[in-house]
Symmetry: D2
Subunit: 390 residues, 4 copies
């Protein structure tokens, strides 16, 4: 056994491996958040963030983790009793719906059930919207990449369904585990609020979160009656114009954000997305090579950020993860909610290269063998074939 004698393999689907440049950046001394140097930093950050969201509109940065940004998206746009449509695509879509419910929004009527193996269904949405002739539904919530399942919803098709229905509901999209990893376009896809966090594709520690906001969402805010102070967009956007914040920002994480955005620009977003897609393809090749099943069922929806693997009957995914942690010092994602014990998740997002992925898949393969799961040891080789191919 060789525990802890090298760099831990953090292959959960986020938080991801923060590049050492970013870690060094966040260890710089704190500066006056009301001084000129900070103002310049803020203005540079806001300019650099837009392209990552694919927006020329405002991006609100919260000194808070991603769950807070979900709450922000809701309280800024909705009023008590508003109807919100959501999809049962997995654990996080369920949690988001449940949050909306707790905040006083009506979610039961418009919850589209799902099997946790598919993304949000544009056709089901079209039906629901067509039935809502009174436009009682005020918002449609979609989780772009379901971190619990490794399924990526087709947001452009969701948008098209809304457009074709001529329905005025807002489109709120959770990109916590897709932004900076999977192609995403806030403006072009007509998203009203994009929710994001720092700790996945943005390659930062947790502690920052984001709302990209459309004009239509800003207009909705003016009529929304859920109470909001900390999450209120308006004072942030207003203060940001001069490079300041209405309350103390998380300075050191912002240092890291600047460095992380620089890394994304350096690689080029299209290359970043292609890299994630390629690593995802190699991972699926391994899974299938082992004779196991990828949880995601629709080819169009496989996630570039993570792959959830179905454990064969009679084998416990958590036991496997424990073996792998103990023997190979690697963390993998657990099955969440109804998938507990039945799947494990391999994160391949954020700062990652071929050989770390190869080491990851080698660890999974050895772990499966040690756990007594019947697998074909050619799985790793299939992944390497994919990685070597281009």
């Amino acid at each position: 056994m060789t525990p802890r004698t090298g760099r831990h393999f953090l292959q959960i689907p986020g938080p991801t491996n923060v590049p050492d440049q970013v870690l060094r950046a966040i260890s710089a001394p704190v500066i006056d958040h009301r001084g000129p140097e900070f103002r310049q930093l803020t203005l540079r950050l806001l300019e650099a963030l837009g392209p990552v969201f694919g927006t020329s509109g405002p991006v609100v940065i919260y000194p808070a983790s991603g769950t807070g940004a979900w709450e922000a998206a809701l309280v800024n746009t909705l009023s008590p009793g508003d109807r919100v449509l959501s999809f049962e695509t997995g654990h996080f879509s369920t949690l988001w719906r449940s949050m909306a419910d707790s905040l006083g929004v009506e979610t039961a009527t418009d919850f589209v059930p799902g099997d946790w193996r598919h993304g949000a269904d544009p056709e089901a949405l079209a039906e629901r919207l067509a039935a809502d002739t009174q436009h009682a539904i005020k918002a449609v919530c979609v989780v772009h990449n379901e971190t619990s399942t490794g399924v990526t919803s087709r947001v452009p098709e969701i948008r098209r369904a809304m457009d074709e229905a001529g329905h005025p509901a807002l489109l709120l999209v959770d990109t916590v585990s897709s932004l900076g990893s999977i192609d995403y376009r806030h403006d072009e896809w007509g998203v009203d609020v994009t929710v994001a966090g720092s700790q996945k594709g943005l390659m930062l520690p947790p502690g920052l979160s984001f709302n990209a906001v459309s004009d239509k969402a800003l207009a909705a805010r003016r009529k929304a009656r859920l109470p909001k102070v900390f999450w209120d967009w308006e004072p942030v956007i207003e203060a940001n114009r001069q490079g300041s914040f209405p309350y103390t920002p998380a300075t050191n994480l912002l240092y890291g954000l600047e460095e992380a955005l620089r890394l994304l620009r350096e690689e080029g977003l299209p290359n970043v997305f292609a890299r994630h897609a390629r690593h995802a393809a190699a991972t699926r090749a391994a899974v299938r090579g082992w004779g196991l099943e990828v949880l995601s069922l629709d080819e169009r929806e496989h996630s570039g950020a993570l792959t959830a693997v179905v454990m064969p009957e009679g084998h416990d995914a958590d036991k496997l993860r424990e073996i792998i942690l103990e023997r190979f010092d690697m963390s993998l994602g657990a099955g969440l909610g109804r998938l507990a014990g039945r799947v494990f998740r391999i994160g391949h997002l954020g700062r990652l290269n071929d050989l770390t992925l190869a080491g990851t898949l080698a660890g999974v393969q050895m772990g499966l063998e040690l756990a007594g799961v019947p697998v074909d040891s050619g799985g790793l080789g299939a992944a390497l074939d994919r990685l070597r191919a281009e």
Copy 2:
């Protein structure tokens, strides 16, 4: 002129100078927030936090900045329309009241006016509570150390007034700029919710905040009807029992928190408080030596964390700060709200030693002279006499 040729003097009343040990701690690699190593970290942190708040009850850690912890204190304990009593002790007490107002709480009736040069008045409180025979007031909000004025409210006397009135209102106290700098005792003083942030006496970057919570506050939460999800204490306290969090915690700031708590223990809290008091006394000696006025008027209420200095008529405090920043690379605190331009604030909290304070006061003295403010240059000497004395 010698800009930027050494370590910036960050002498605002927070964020404070983060010790380099803490900065290095926050640059450690992120770990799995659901793994065993993280659980141990959480449990250690929760154990170490109690003594700093002076509580054996739960302390909720938010991956968010201090303003959020204000909101948390309110939404966990109050319902729409509840009456809240607050004091106009300065800018931050005013902001907190205004937040309560925006959240749907009634604050206008019970706002005790003030001159921004004194703390919360226990006698005024006694009168107000005596008049509230129906116990309509549900909470009393006090800012322990007003960061905008350098005045520290006498919380034990506030408590006594409440006790003597036999009034059941909750006592909510903001210790954002006092915790870890000025003596504070959540349990002993009968506080129900203590609000704190990471970036002042706790010597961390901004990005974490805290609620210490009494049993009475926990009981109040069960009846409170303001919507709450992200800020809800209950799921955090519940998850904390096993060392986990209901949403992604701000891992790297937690690393820093552990190191900062270690530093506080190493010095010893009574020594920490004595050091702050001593630095504050030296600073006031300088101010008076210069022939200037300390904003705080009551000897019992001078802050150990910062000193607000009144500019003589005809001189602009912001111009002074600009000169000092430009010439001596030192940031000082601005006058806030109604004090804008009329005071400047010298932060002497967090990780600070005698010579950095001496350099700070030398910079203020030179700045005053350069700004043409008539001062006696013996001010610095008076401070050194104080520092040398013990």
Copy 3:
């Protein structure tokens, strides 16, 4: 291609991957090298170093890289014209001999030729010493682990040959790439000067080097006439008694050394050696699985620190390394001296774990395939079998 999108694989045989704890340690502020805090650091370090060398005698720390420590071993013990016996075990033994030559020592007579695939030959030594009835040979130089070949000489057998010959020559051993990776015992094996560097098994950046010194070597120093000032042991040992140094030490690397020694103690030296041996065995399993040849020919001499792999005729090892660097962002060691282009070297020393080794071997395998070298792709699997086995 996915260059530079994660952590570089630094799999040369040193400098090795410095643990992030060590990197953080070396970034602490410099302190007064003549003050009490530094003295304590020095005394702690000297105490902690002994067990790593297996000595209770002095260990001299140089603020210089390993080549300097070679020079130190020679100039402290020898006089112009002294005869020194050395072995042609590879590139570094040749360089060391050449250095001795340049310093004015006679090396030509007593150079034992070799094929760069075996370690120092105890039998040849026995013959040479037997022939030296006048004891003209003053020192025997052995490279414990030849970094250029991956062959580890059997120092105890060398010692035994010297003892059996009753020969008084000093035994000087280079452990630059073995200390902290391969079992080594200065006192028990009767070594007179052990030469070491910081950047391999000690898991530090380059910049520190060491001489562990026997009483006999200290006695030899008193008569040695090669000029020495910077490298002179005596003033260092003398100053070290009080925790100081005769010239400015490399403070920040010493911080790192303390942390690195702590990591070695934490793991336990026997575990450290076993881990290296196990990784070496897995690597050889891969090499043989590919159908390639390990350079080291004697089972008793395979290095735990690195494996040199012979390229098949007609294939250029440097071209392979270039492909691997370009495609997989991994650095491997080049063939040195007469092995240039004919071997490549896989470093598996220092802070390393199974999955990083797996990623490394995956990268080598893919690289070989891309370079058109005919290999059996079962090599990686053979290594994994070995890693999984225990």
Copy 4:
């Protein structure tokens, strides 16, 4: 007493306060010192170093501390028995002479005595050189800035004396505590070897040292017969042409060097020198204001890097330093050699700003008072007057 509650004041004359940017730079992961990335780093460094030395010739970087670079200057240029002229300007000139002696060079004949309060005397040199009609003197050694005394020798006048004598001796200059702090020009001043270290004006931790080398020195090397391997310029200069080194370089300190050189360029060398001169003038103003004596006696020779202060009779400088360390957490330089206990030294070199200097001088003043040394407390004010003036 407030020990260790903030940043230590490291006001010795080196090692100096390493800027936090530089500390972060040295904590980057080690890279392959034979790879393309390292080669680019080396070439950039060599290009950036020239201007700091004022040379367009080669600068040799040693992975060793400054004392080693002294040795390098000697062994590359001299042969056993060569006569070397040196000046008794203080502790370090004496040590350098003593090193030359130990290396086999003749130094007794040509040692110009001094009072440790003046620099090297150009007139005495002229006399000595005039007397040496046979040109038996092969080198003149000058310490540019005597770190033990705070006296800066006038190198251009030394050069002129040599030129006027038409004497062919080499000019070797130690700039360990002047380079990057006090104006220095290797080429323009006709210096043959400039010796420097990393830990003073270059704002790095100790561990790197330098020789800037003239063509004449390179020519001398070819005939010099002192043994040299590690210190030999030739293989370094040769390898540097391709961006490599003949032995493992101190990678992480080189990262720091690049950042430190960037900081020097950013400020501009003339500004760096002016800042040092200004801080030195303020320090002398304080010393004289206290009624104490500056050790340096000649206005033309006051050091910009440090100020040595003479203790009044009956007071022990080391006791003073102990009090200051204990009470104010500040390290000052001790009196060395014959000045032990009689002077203390205030370092004001490297990364330093006005307020840190003010804090330093405040600490010295309070310390003097606590030690019972009769001083005028107007000293600090005199320094502030100087700092405020421009």
